[in-house]
């Protein structure tokens, strides 16, 4: 078994405010392997930011452990903790650049605090600017850059200390779709080229789909489900996962009276022939309520929601027919 670079064990975190304690994280277990791009997704307020800040101990857990390469962060003094943080960089939704430093000097910051000689730091910063495609803006101040450009500088700054892990807290949530895409590409590039493990926190399924091979779904302070991205997409076990994969479900009318099925195609098969043939074979129409195709970590995956005929026997036979064709079928009528 490959070494876990990050392990979170039975992590709890409560906040006390106005003499009232709320448990935001209620026993989180996670393990991230070196080289992975690991997604953590959940709704707003689910505790994602708190969780990721526990991973680098910006937030101190109430109980439970965080292990980085086997070291329990809870047992480190502040100096050793800072050493760990040099290896575990973080980027943020609001970029959080130093406003009074230009791009180059921002990237030099983590090198300054580890006492890298000035000239050497500057050289490294220039290389990083090139890596993120910003070499022409070395002297620009953050106020002169667009959101996407600021995030590129923030990524370069995060990489300056040669970290093993990059934590991303909603790194693309303040960006438009186009820019989001280019930043996600950059992150994937960094993972491939430099082998840096990336932990991505987001509330957007599209980000996870684009980037992650592993995913954990956090809901109400607990991990509802975690594992391979494709596996969870095709066979979601938890209600939280279903809601994320298939958010429009609620908008389908009259769910209760009829049977609906969600069918998922992976790269090997495709929609039309299968459904068309089924309709022909059975001589019965089905309604297509919803369909889309996504690119999951390089593999095309389609999903479709169909309304089966009223006749329960025909409906059952249709489900069997689809399963026979190696297609994942899941009834969704119960979850209206």
């Amino acid at each position: 078994m490959a070494e876990d670079i990050i392990r979170v064990e039975n992590l709890h975190k409560s906040f006390v405010s106005h003499n009232k304690s709320t448990e935001v994280l209620q026993g989180i277990d996670l393990s991230v392997k070196a080289g992975e791009i690991y997604g953590i997704i959940g709704k707003s307020g689910a505790g994602k930011s708190t969780l990721v800040r526990c991973i680098n101990y910006l937030v101190k857990p109430s109980s439970g452990k965080v292990l980085f390469e086997g070291t329990d962060l809870g047992e480190l003094g502040s100096r050793e903790l800072n050493q760990v943080r040099h290896q575990m960089a973080m980027i943020f939704q609001q970029f959080n650049l130093l406003m009074q430093r230009n791009a180059l000097k921002n990237i030099c910051y983590p090198l300054e605090i580890t006492r890298v000689p000035k000239e050497q730091a500057k050289q490294r910063a220039m290389e990083l600017l090139k890596l993120v495609g910003m070499e022409t803006r070395a002297n620009a101040y953050p106020a002169e850059l667009s959101g996407g450009q600021k995030q590129r500088i923030a990524i370069a700054r995060a990489l300056a200390s040669n970290p093993k892990v990059l934590l991303c807290d909603e790194a693309t949530s303040a960006l438009d779709p186009e820019t989001t895409k280019s930043i996600l590409e950059l992150l994937r590039d960094i993972n491939h080229k430099l082998g840096i493990t990336i932990v991505v926190i987001t509330h957007e399924m599209a980000v996870i789909e684009e980037l992650c091979s592993k995913v954990a779904i956090i809901s109400d302070g607990k991990i509802a489900e975690s594992g391979d991205m494709a596996q969870i997409f095709m066979h979601p076990q938890s209600e939280a996962a279903r809601q994320l994969i298939f958010p429009n479900r609620k908008s389908i009318p009259e769910m209760r009276s009829r049977r609906y099925c969600r069918i998922v195609f992976d790269g090997r098969s495709s929609f039309e022939p299968v459904v068309a043939n089924m309709v022909l074979d059975f001589g019965q129409a089905v309604n297509i309520m919803f369909a889309d195709t996504r690119n999951l970590d390089g593999m095309a995956v389609g999903q479709m929601v169909i309304q089966l005929p009223d006749n329960p026997e025909v409906a059952l036979r249709m489900i069997a027919y689809l399963r026979d064709k190696q297609i994942s079928v899941e009834e969704v009528s119960d979850h209206a």
Partner: protein, 217 residues
């Protein structure tokens, strides 16, 4: 006529001397104090409840004295330090005691303007508390610090003029001695005009520097 010009020059020099020297000394005390107030606050980078409470109370206590009363209250201390309670050097002692807590609060408010998320980012990169103070909090708030320094200078200039009542030296002293006691109103007006001029210049320089150094656009 020559004597008169000399009189104004001397007293202007004394006013500026008192103001600048006491502001500098007051910053030596007030700047670290302001930093401590921010750093040890509940939401600071090194929360220390007890210390924060004590410092806050001390600063508030000193700030609640009207300057003229403070001037009298600390006169034994002043005599101890400079050997007299008259003239510019005596006034400097009182000015420092009055201004240091005021400056601490100004520094505190400047440092509080720094985006907490930026400080968090610095922490995530493994910065020590000292590094955060020296490389993040102070440089990021430099414009606000400079603006506040200009305000501090002008306020202290005002205080120094008040010390004229007890023979503190400088333009305020001049205005009171000649204008109030000897009814030479012209001298008083010129002294006041010079005070206003100095305030304007200090304020202008502060504003210009602050603007020039602020890269937030």
């Amino acid at each position: 006529m020559h004597d008169l010009i000399l009189l104004f020059l001397e007293n202007t020099r004394d006013s500026i001397y008192m103001t600048v020297v006491s502001t500098l000394i007051a910053y030596v005390i007030g700047l670290p104090l302001g930093i401590l107030l921010v750093v040890t606050a509940a939401d600071g980078i090194r929360p220390l409840r007890a210390l924060n409470k004590v410092l806050g109370a001390l600063v508030n206590l000193l700030r609640s004295f009207p300057f003229l009363i403070l001037l009298f209250v600390i006169s034994p201390f002043t005599r101890l330090v400079v050997g007299t309670t008259l003239g510019p050097n005596a006034t400097i002692v009182a000015l420092v005691v009055a201004a240091a807590p005021f400056i601490a609060r100004m520094v505190e408010s400047s440092l509080r303007e720094v985006d907490g998320n930026v400080i968090e980012a610095a922490q995530s990169m493994g910065s020590s508390s000292l590094q955060i103070i020296m490389k993040v909090m102070l440089p990021e708030s430099r414009s606000s610090l400079i603006l506040n320094a200009a305000i501090a200078l002008t306020t202290i200039l005002g205080y120094s003029a008040m010390a004229g009542i007890v023979g503190g030296g400088g333009l305020g002293d001049l205005a009171i001695r000649y204008g109030y006691y000897r009814y030479q109103y012209n001298i008083m007006y010129i002294a006041v005009f010079l005070l206003v001029l100095i305030v304007e210049v200090m304020q202008g320089i502060g504003l210009m520097l602050a603007k020039k150094l602020d890269k937030r656009l």
